[in-house]
Symmetry: C2
Subunit: 351 residues, 2 copies
C-alpha cells in the first residue's frame, strides 16, 4: 500500500508514544524510520518499528534518562545515552555538531550505548545540503556475524561506513557495509529457498559457501568481508576502522559483555571552506568528478549510478506519490496499533 508521508510519520509517532516514548523522542524515531523508507532502505524503515516497540516494552530501549557527556573539547565531544532511542540521540548529536561546525572547521563526535539508529543514509542529507562533508560509522558490539579472513568464529558485524559528498548539484550519499552483504540480505535468500549468487558466506567449518542457511546453522557461519574469498582482508580492514572509531573511541566496544541492541557511533563534519582553495573550488572539484563518472561510456547493458542517486530519486517520487509500505509490515503495524489502542495504518491510507 501507499500512504502519504505525513500520515505515516504521524501514525508511527503515535504508536511510539503509546508505547511510552515522550513526544520528541517518538517524533525523531518516526522521522528517521520514514526517512529510511523514503531513501529505499526498507529493512531499516518502518519494518523496524515493531522491533522498536518490542524493545520499548522489555526495556532494551530506554524511555527515560539523560544524555551523559563523557568528554567535551569544543571541536570534539563524546556522549553516552544509556540506550535512549538511537534516532533521537543521533538527531541531537548531528544538530549539536552542525552548530559547532560554524566555529570549528572539523567537528568530531561519538555516541556510546544508544539504541538502534536505523539507516545511516537517513542522517546525511542535512549536512550535505549545508555543503559539509560528513562521515558516519556505526556498529553494534552485541552482534558478531563477520569473521576475520581465514577465521571461523565471527567478531565484527557488517560495520557500515556512510558519508556525504556535497557537489554543485545533488550530493553523493554513501552508505556501504564493509562486508559483502548484510545479515538481512542473507536471510531473504534463505526465506526464498534460493542459493546465494556466489560464495558470500563461510560455513561453520570455515568453508566458503553459497548456502544462505549456513548463517542460521548452529554454531552459525559468517558473512564474508567486502572483497570475498580473494580480497576479504581489505574489507575486514575497513571493518576494523569502524570498530576503532565507532566503538573503541566512543567508549563502548567489544570488551563489554555481549548484549544485543545498542550501538556506538562516530560522526565527523568537515567544512570544506576551511581547506584548500575554499568551498567553491571544492564543489567545482567534486562536481567535475561526478561529471567524469557519468561521462564514462556505459558497459553493454549497464548504466552508471553513483551513491545516493537512486535513493534521492526514490525519496522524491515517494514524497510526491506516497510512501510504499509492504503488506507484511502494514499487517504487523496494524496488530501493534490494535494492541496499543491506536488507529490502524490502513485508515491513514486515504492518499
Amino acid at each position: 500500500m501507499k500512504i502519504a508521508v505525513d500520515a505515516a510519520q504521524t501514525a508511527a509517532t503515535e504508536l511510539l508514544q503509546a508505547a511510552g516514548l515522550e513526544a520528541e523522542m517518538a517524533q525523531a524515531t518516526a522521522r528517521r524510520l520514514v526517512e529510511g523508507d523514503l531513501l529505499g532502505h526498507n529493512s531499516h524503515g518502518l519494518r523496524m518499528l515493531p522491533v522498536y516497540l518490542e524493545r520499548l516494552g522489555d526495556g532494551r530501549i530506554a524511555r527515560e534518562g539523560r544524555i551523559e557527556v563523557l568528554a567535551d573539547h569544543g571541536a570534539s565531544f563524546s556522549w553516552s545515552t544509556n540506550r535512549l532511542p538511537g534516532a533521537w540521540a543521533m538527531e541531537r548529536l548531528l544538530e549539536e555538531a552542525m552548530q559547532r561546525v560554524k566555529s570549528h572547521p572539523v567537528v568530531t563526535a561519538t555516541l556510546a550505548n544508544c539504541s538502534h539508529v536505523g539507516a545511516l543514509q537517513a542522517y546525511l542529507e542535512a549536512p550535505a545540503r549545508r555543503g559539509l562533508l560528513a562521515t558516519l560509522m556505526v556498529t553494534d558490539p552485541g552482534v558478531a556475524s563477520v569473521a576475520p579472513p581465514g577465521g571461523i568464529d565471527p567478531v565484527t558485524t557488517s560495520n557500515p561506513i556512510a558519508a556525504c559528498i556535497p557537489t554543485e548539484g545533488e550530493p553523493l550519499l554513501i552508505d556501504t557495509s564493509t562486508s559483502l552483504v548484510s545479515n538481512g540480505a542473507i536471510a531473504n535468500h534463505a526465506a526464498a529457498g534460493r542459493k546465494l549468487p556466489g560464495n558470500w558466506v563461510v560455513d561453520n567449518q570455515g568453508q566458503p559457501s553459497d548456502d544462505p542457511q549456513a548463517l542460521s546453522a548452529k554454531p552459525p557461519g559468517t558473512i564474508m568481508p567486502l572483497g570475498g574469498e580473494d580480497f576479504g582482508y581489505k574489507g575486514f580492514a575497513f571493518g576494523l576502522l569502524v570498530e576503532a572509531y565507532a566503538l573503541a573511541l566512543a567508549g563502548y566496544g567489544r570488551e563489554l559483555p555481549r548484549q544485543r541492541g545498542a550501538q556506538g557511533v562516530f560522526l565527523q563534519l568537515i567544512e570544506p571552506n576551511a581547506f584548500g582553495h575554499g568551498k567553491q573550488a571544492f564543489l567545482a572539484s567534486t562536481s567535475a568528478l561526478v561529471g567524469q563518472c557519468h561521462a564514462s561510456r556505459p558497459a553493454p547493458g549497464a548504466s552508471i549510478r553513483l551513491p545516493g542517486e537512486r535513493a534521492l530519486a526514490r525519496k522524491a517520487s515517494q514524497l510526491r506519490d506516497g510512501l510504499d509500505i509492504a503488506d507484511d509490515v502494514r499487517t504487523q503495524l496494524d496488530a501493534w496499533a490494535q494492541r496499543l489502542g491506536c488507529p490502524a495504518f490502513a485508515h491513514r491510507a486515504d492518499h
Copy 2:
C-alpha cells in the same frame, strides 16, 4: 642481495643528492623508500628510486621551492607543495600534525600537488607509537585506471586508504586500496604471461576479464573496484571518499588538466584520550578486539593475520638481517650510481 639498512639509506640519500636534492629532502625521501621496503611494500620501496631520479632530472619532481600555506585554522591546515618531494612534504605534514595534536584532539591536514609519497603504511608507525589514530588518504589526479561500476572509461585510481589503530601491544597498520588490486599487480601477471586468478579487470569493451593484457590495450581496460563484479559499487564508493578528502578538499583534484606524478593527501590524527572514557579504555577496547580476532578458530589450512602484523614482522627481521633488494632493482640503482658518480650499491653490501 641483502644490504644493511643504514647503508641502503646512505646510498639512496647520496643518489638523490647527486641528482640535485638538498640533504634534508634527500634524506627524507630515502628514509620513506627504505621504510616501504622494510614493511614489505617493495613496489613502493627502492624500486621507485630510479623513477624519482628520472623525475628529478626532467623536473616532474621539483628540487627547489617552498611549501605554500593555503589555509590554517590551528586544528586544521592545508598546504600546497608545488611538486616538491612527496616523502619530505609528508614527513613535514605529519610532524606538524603531531605537534598540533598535543593541543587539539583532532588535527586535520591536506597537501596539494606533492610528488609521489610512496607507501602510505610507511607513515603510520610514528603516530601509532604515540597512541594516536591516524587516517591517510592519497591519490593522483593525473592517473585514471578504475572505471565507475557499469562504466568503461576510467576515472579514479586504486585510491588507497591507510590508518593506524593503536593497541596495548603492536598497532594495526592498515594500508588498503579501494580497487581489487593495483596497476602494478596486474602488470606483474602480464609480465609473467599468467591469466589473473579471477575477473579482476574490465576490458575496453566493458566486459569483465581475467586477461592482464586488457589493462595495456589501446584504449586501456580498467581495474575493478574492491567488491568486483557483484559488489564493486561498494569499493568505488570508498574510492569516491578518497577523491573528496585527498583531492577536492586539498584543492588539487580531477578538475585539473591531467598530468602524471603529483598527488593530493588527506591526513588526520585523533587523540583517543580526548574521547569516550580516555586512552586506557580505548586501548583496552582495541586490544580486546585484536584478541577476539586471533581467538577466532582458523579455517582449514588458513591462518588469521591482521593489518600490519606481517609488515612489522618483516621490518623487524630486515632491521636485524639486512634489507632485501631485488637483483633488477640493484642493477638499475648501480647504473644510476655510475651515471651520477656515486659508489655502487653492491659495494655497500658488506653485511
